[in-house]
């Protein structure tokens, strides 16, 4: 049980005035230390799903248990949010203070961390996202990727066990996207449980588990290799496999002897070089 850090059981949630459930009878489990991707088109309910995990919204029915705590329990709400930090899509709309250092301190101030303890934790968090040299900058002078990394530091300083990312790279340029994704991958390697909401297949392909959502339901789950192995399986949800997986499939169809499970450019390079060596 301790291994399962997030457990959703038969969860439904409906927004006011909405015709149908935004999240519809979802069962989902995330293991400790895992990097999980949730994929889906706009309006598939993936953002609603993560907001349920840290108690920003409460389920209409079913239960959400985060790190052993039921999100319905009013007394636990601040513990849950401290334990499960969240980074949002728009980098401009989640930084509060006028200086990077003060912004990272925001969560610490809210949770009542003693003042003497703060500078050390802030420095550590900024170092982890490689933003220490910008500590005295104003947020509006940073690039999108840098702002998102500051937002991550702000969460990190609170020492959470889980980090939830709600399309954190959607508004960034390719470089910023890579910066942020690599930072999160590194945190995950150091033991952080990550839930990564995205609509970029390349990012999902690098996670350990992928869940695909459609109309509020989880319709497909598995490792990236399982989920992306066949374009036909994804077609009903109007999603496409990562470009390299698509290319591999077409090459296989054309008679090139490539193995299954190619998802990234690195995979492709490796397999093509192996193939060339055999010729």
């Amino acid at each position: 049980m301790a291994d399962e850090i997030i457990v959703l059981k038969d969860v439904c949630y409906k927004y006011e005035d909405a015709a149908r459930n935004a999240v519809d009878h979802v069962d989902l489990t995330v293991r400790r230390g895992e990097m999980t991707a949730v994929l889906g088109r706009n309006g598939s309910g993936k953002s609603t799903l993560v907001k349920l995990i840290n108690g920003l919204i409460l389920p209409d029915s079913g239960t959400v248990t985060t790190d052993g705590m039921d999100t319905q329990d009013d007394a636990l709400v601040w513990d849950i949010r401290q334990r499960a930090g969240m980074v949002f899509q728009n980098p401009d709309n989640q930084l509060v203070a006028t200086v990077v250092r003060d912004d990272v301190a925001f969560g610490l101030e809210n949770t009542g961390v003693p003042s003497e303890e703060m500078p050390g934790r802030i420095e550590q968090a900024l170092k982890a996202v490689n933003m220490l040299k910008y500590a005295e900058r104003a947020p509006h002078l940073l690039s999108g990727g840098q702002k998102q990394r500051v937002a991550i530091a702000g969460i990190l300083a609170m020492r959470p066990d889980i980090m939830l990312f709600d399309e954190a790279t959607a508004m960034l340029d390719p470089r910023g996207r890579r910066e942020v994704f690599d930072t999160v991958r590194q945190l995950n390697r150091e033991g952080m449980t990550v839930v990564w909401i995205t609509h970029f297949m390349e990012e999902a392909a690098q996670c350990e588990t992928v869940h695909i959502m459609h109309d509020g339901a989880v319709v497909l789950s598995g490792t990236p290799q399982e989920v992306f192995s066949d374009r036909k399986r994804l077609e009903p949800w109007r999603l496409d496999v990562p470009p390299m997986a698509a290319l591999a499939q077409r090459l296989r169809a054309a008679g090139v002897a490539l193995p299954e499970g190619i998802l990234s450019i690195d995979d492709m390079t490796r397999e093509v070089e192996a193939l060339a060596a055999r010729l």
Binding site: Q94, T98, F106, V113
Partner: protein, 271 residues
Amino acid sequence: MLENITLGQYYPIKSPVHALDPRVKILLLIAYITGVFLVPDLTGFIIVLLYLALACRLSRLPFRLLVKSLKPLRMILIFTFILNLFFTGGETPLLNLGFATLTKEGLLNALRYSLRLVFLVLGSSMLTLTTAPVVLTDGLERLLSPLKVIHFPAHEMAMMMTIALRFIPTLLEEADKIMKAQSARGADFESGKLFERAKAMVPLLVPLFVSAFRRAGDLAMAMEARCYHGGEGRTRLNVLKVERRDWIAILITALFIALIVLEPRIVPWHV
């Protein structure tokens, strides 16, 4: 245009005055203003001038910056001077202009009121020039926090100020973007009569407001996700502490007030 916006008029250098506790600085300004109002005659302003010169010297501010802060007030200053000059009345005529008479009392009164105004503005600028807006807000919050007993929202006001300061550049950037987008589609913000120009602002203001509300919603969500739940039980990164230099500043200011009060007894002449 957007890169060089400055918030307030803060002049970011390091100096003993900049380093003073903001709470102390605010209280000293109040003391200084009281002092300026207590000045009994023109000679007293020499003390104010000396005090201000000392502060200016210690703060390492360029003198012209301080003087520049008087510029927006020049019309009011001229008015104050002229009105007092002619409408004070008095017994000792200096000059007869035909339509009005200049009296000695009028001249002294005009000088007194204008100088008082000048020194009030210079003193307040001293505070805003040497204190970053966020630090000032922080100081105000802590000074006002005893009023929480009577439900005065000191923390909430300070938080609002901080967020406003944080979002001014963001919203300016956005306004610039919308303006360019509307101009590209033929909107004209520059020509026409006043009413037409005001009307042309509508397509700029509506999207700006809509986006500001969306931002507010997002920010509220992000703040909640980071455990924000009001001022209760909150700790602070920056702990304010009254240090030796603060006590020195308080001492100098106390001396300044004492000098002003005692000035009529020390100085034999009175103007």
